[in-house]
């Protein structure tokens, strides 16, 4: 009997245990749902009306895709990043680059050839001279198949020295710009970068910046940033970037302007341009770990009396890839729109970019249809859209990393991590083709590798940016100068402004621009052509007056580019021109920064010139005070005796025009600048410490004290 009772209870206990284990498993399944097949997951995708999604590629042909590029033959190459989120030991990374093949021409990949494997930290690719440029921190590589077997057999380290310690913040996302430069995001991470093709050139410290380079001219330099993962360049060369929680930023001023002198008080030259904050409309609940972690963080904020709230959902936190749509596969209203993915929200967001009429920036807005839903969402929480490309067919390709979890493991409290498998899904991955509902996939008909010059020139007029850029790049690579007359003719005769712009940059790449052509471009009917012509005009001093005239351009971005470029001509007329810019656009921060970024625009001469219109110093408006403060700050930081002497003399003149509020800002700014100056004398430091600016007497005394020193 006892045995029976024991057996009964043992059986009951075992049953109870089994029940609880099963319950636990069911709860786990609810907590973190399992994966779906590509076909099942496709059904979970919801796109705005008028579009559909198709599977272009899926496991086992691809896994963990983060970058997709079509080469000049229309062949699709994909980068797989299976090691994420863990660091691979040096030389043991499992990163792969594959060539994807659609053997039966049904629009879906059915074979993958490994082009390169064990490429540690590979994150992006760009076709170049028959091979691929690859970002693979700490390097940028060049891989090429020279014997036609589909596998890379040469490996060149182009650049090395980039940061390598966090796969979410490394050199990535190569983009071929309209201007023949290749751009990459560096997230501002520290690094001393060398270019192995120019071993005698001094290494460049890339801290705080992104990166750009040209292999046709062996140049490399810093670029405004920092962008984390997403990067997109539009048809006119405007660059956009993002970081996890800031889904869309525009690069307003390139680095080469903001660093003409090292004294600007602020060098941040990009800005978030969204008009709808960082809100996204996700269809998936936040995962358990995230909801719990957010709860814990908010509790900590409250305990520390901080007025902060973290949101576990519906706010961008995993903004990733970006692309500007510039093709003919979608309806015309989508042209120029930017698509941005968020891996945490399992969605693709679309912004309509509209040039501001008050500032040289775009404003990013939701399209009318997308006030209530995103362009594309999935209810499959494994859907992780990492990146995009627009293919030669004009359709949008969305890369789906397909993972159960995407997050830096070390950022999750240990107790929440215990039941998380960060590698779940590392054997999966998909790429979707997004196209209008009434469209069908198109067989690959691309054949540009051996195309004649005539064919490449024709391609510069293709409605799809992908084709035009391929043609531009191939003409640059070939360096066949015999095409120059035909390209010039194309620039003069083409009715498509985009073609005229490509023609300009083909000529630039062939070193075949001339002043007459630039003069014509400066008066082009399209603002985008004029804007780029201003940049290219720097090489031709004889175009100065025409460039100067563009300060009055009706399009604000063109006037802005002129403000940036005019000082490059080193012309005496520039400083008075910059005064006119301030009169017209001084209320805009970016114009003030553009003026101050040049030597001429940041000298005491500017103050003298500002007196002449007799209006600037009459009314101490906030923007005027801000300009005087920043200008004084720069003059102080530059700390050149003659400049400061001129500056102090200007301030000490008995002048009814210059009100005390201007003098106060000037001395405050100068003091800040002097504190930044590296060569500040100890005696001067003593004077600076004594300076007070609370009233007229104190400011007058400060000026006198400083005059004794200078």
């Amino acid at each position: 009997m006892i045995n029976k009772i024991n057996a009964f209870f043992a059986g009951k206990a075992a049953g109870l245990f089994l029940l609880l284990v099963l319950t636990g498993s069911a709860a786990m399944a609810q907590k973190y749902p399992g994966p779906l097949s590509p076909e099942e997951s496709l059904k979970k995708i919801k796109i705005i009306e008028g579009f559909k999604a198709e599977i272009f590629a899926a496991e086992p042909n691809i896994m963990d895709p983060v970058s997709l590029a079509f080469d000049e033959q229309g062949q699709a190459y994909v980068v797989e990043m299976p090691d994420y989120p863990f660091e691979a030991e040096p030389g043991k990374g499992k990163g792969r680059i594959k060539l994807l093949k659609d053997i039966d021409n049904d629009g879906r990949i059915d074979q993958a050839v490994i082009f390169a494997e064990n490429v540690t930290e590979a994150t992006s690719i760009l076709p170049w001279q028959g091979g691929l440029i690859v970002t693979a921190a700490p390097d940028i590589l060049y891989l090429k198949d020279t014997n036609g077997d589909g596998k890379a057999d040469t490996r060149e380290v182009l650049f090395t020295g980039f940061f390598q310690n966090n796969s979410e913040a490394q050199i990535t996302n190569l983009r071929y710009g309209m201007d023949n430069w290749i751009y990459a995001n560096n997230h501002g991470q520290d690094g001393l970068v060398t270019f192995n093709r120019t071993p005698n050139v001094k290494p460049v410290a890339v801290r705080g910046a992104d990166f750009r380079f040209r292999l046709d001219q062996n140049k490399f330099e810093l670029e405004t940033g920092p962008g984390q993962f997403g990067q997109a360049i539009d048809e006119w060369g405007h660059r956009f970037i993002n970081e996890n929680s800031i889904h869309l930023e525009q690069v307003i001023i390139p680095w080469r302007y903001t660093h003409r002198h090292p004294f600007l008080p602020v060098t941040k030259a990009m800005a978030s341009i969204t008009d709808h904050e960082e809100i996204m409309l996700q269809e998936t609940p936040p995962p358990y770990w995230r909801a719990e972690r957010t709860k814990q963080r908010n509790k900590t904020f409250q305990e520390n009396n901080l007025k902060r709230v973290e949101y576990a959902e519906d706010r961008f936190s995993g903004a990733a890839g970006m692309v500007v749509y510039a093709a003919d596969g979608f309806p015309p209203e989508f042209n120029g729109n930017i698509f941005i993915s968020d891996v945490a929200g399992n969605l693709v967001h679309r912004d309509v970019l509209t040039p501001s009429t008050k500032s040289p920036v775009f404003v990013a807005s939701r399209a009318g249809k997308e006030k209530e839903q995103e362009f594309l969402t999935s209810t499959d929480s494994w859907f992780r859209p990492t990146n995009f490309t627009v293919g030669p067919d004009g359709y949008l390709y969305v890369l789906d990393y397909y993972r159960q979890h995407i997050e830096t493991p070390v950022s999750i409290p240990d107790e929440l991590k215990a039941d998380m498998n960060f590698m779940a899904g590392s054997d999966k991955g998909r790429v979707y083709r997004i196209l209008p509902t009434n469209s069908t996939f198109k067989n690959n008909t691309v054949n540009l590798a051996k195309a004649s010059n005539t064919k490449l020139l024709e391609t510069l007029s293709h409605p799809n940016l992908w084709w035009r850029l391929q043609a531009q790049r191939l003409l640059l690579e070939k360096q066949d100068k015999s095409v120059v007359p035909a390209v010039k003719k194309l620039f003069i005769t083409s009715k498509d402004a985009r073609t005229r712009l490509h023609a300009l940059y083909v000529l630039e790449g062939l070193n075949a621009l001339d002043a007459e052509l630039i003069k014509k471009a400066l008066q082009d009917s399209a603002p985008g052509v004029r804007e780029n012509a201003i940049i290219l005009a720097e090489q031709f001093p004889e175009t100065y007056s025409l460039v100067q005239a563009r300060l009055n351009d009706p399009v604000i971005r063109v006037a802005f580019q002129t403000t940036l470029n005019l000082p490059e001509f080193k012309n005496k007329e520039t400083a008075p021109s910059l005064i006119k810019v301030l009169e017209k656009y001084g209320q805009d921060f970016w114009f003030r920064m553009a003026v101050l970024s040049s030597e001429q625009g940041s000298s005491p001469e500017i103050l003298q010139l500002l007196r002449q219109p007799n209006t600037f110093f009459q009314n101490p408006e906030p923007w005027k005070l801000a300009f005087v403060s920043d200008l004084s700050n720069i003059i102080g930081a530059r700390n050149q005796k003659d400049q400061i002497s001129t500056f102090l003399n200007f301030l000490s003149q008995p002048d009814s025009q210059i009100t005390d509020s201007f003098r106060v800002e000037a001395i405050k700014g100068l003091t800040k600048g002097l504190n930044r100056a590296t060569s500040t004398d100890p005696k001067l430091k003593e004077i600076i410490q004594r300076i007070k600016t609370n009233n007229t007497q104190e400011v007058t005394a400060a000026i006198q004290d400083l005059k004794k020193f200078y």
Binding site: G24, G208, T300, P409, V410
Partner: protein, 130 residues
């Protein structure tokens, strides 16, 4: 917004799931059944097993990590924490995960790892204040 789920459903699922999971976990422990996660080997060791960093006297109190567990210091490295931000506009001082110095204290802290943090610092996890 037309959600595909409700918060109530979400909370219910998670509370029920957590309860079942904890109970199941307790039973699994009781029955000496263990589960391994070879892919998550980078997780911090338990407090009992961490080595303490040796006491040191730092010139800057905000750089003094004496007494901080080595696992926590390792976390800093994973996030590539630096005391001076490479991007002046993105620094600990304007990161939502930064805890400003308490009254009378010179250094701040971070929600991501233990130990002192400087307002001028930065790590790759920087997130803007909302």
């Amino acid at each position: 917004m037309n959600k595909k789920y409700t918060r109530r459903e979400f909370l219910f699922k998670n509370i029920a799931g957590s309860a079942a999971f904890i109970t199941g976990g307790w039973l699994l422990t009781s029955f000496k059944v263990s589960q391994t996660h070879p892919q998550t080997t980078n997780q911090a060791k338990s407090k009992d097993s961490v080595q303490q960093t040796p006491k040191s006297i730092s010139q800057n109190p905000c750089e003094d990590l004496s007494g901080i567990a080595s696992g926590e210091i390792e976390k800093r490295k994973k996030f590539a924490y630096v005391t001076i931000s490479p991007n002046p506009d993105s620094r600990c001082g304007n990161c939502k995960l930064f805890l400003p110095p308490a009254a009378g204290k010179p250094c701040g802290a971070c929600l991501l790892f233990k130990g002192t943090v400087q307002e001028s610092g930065y790590c790759t996890y920087w997130a803007p204040l909302e």
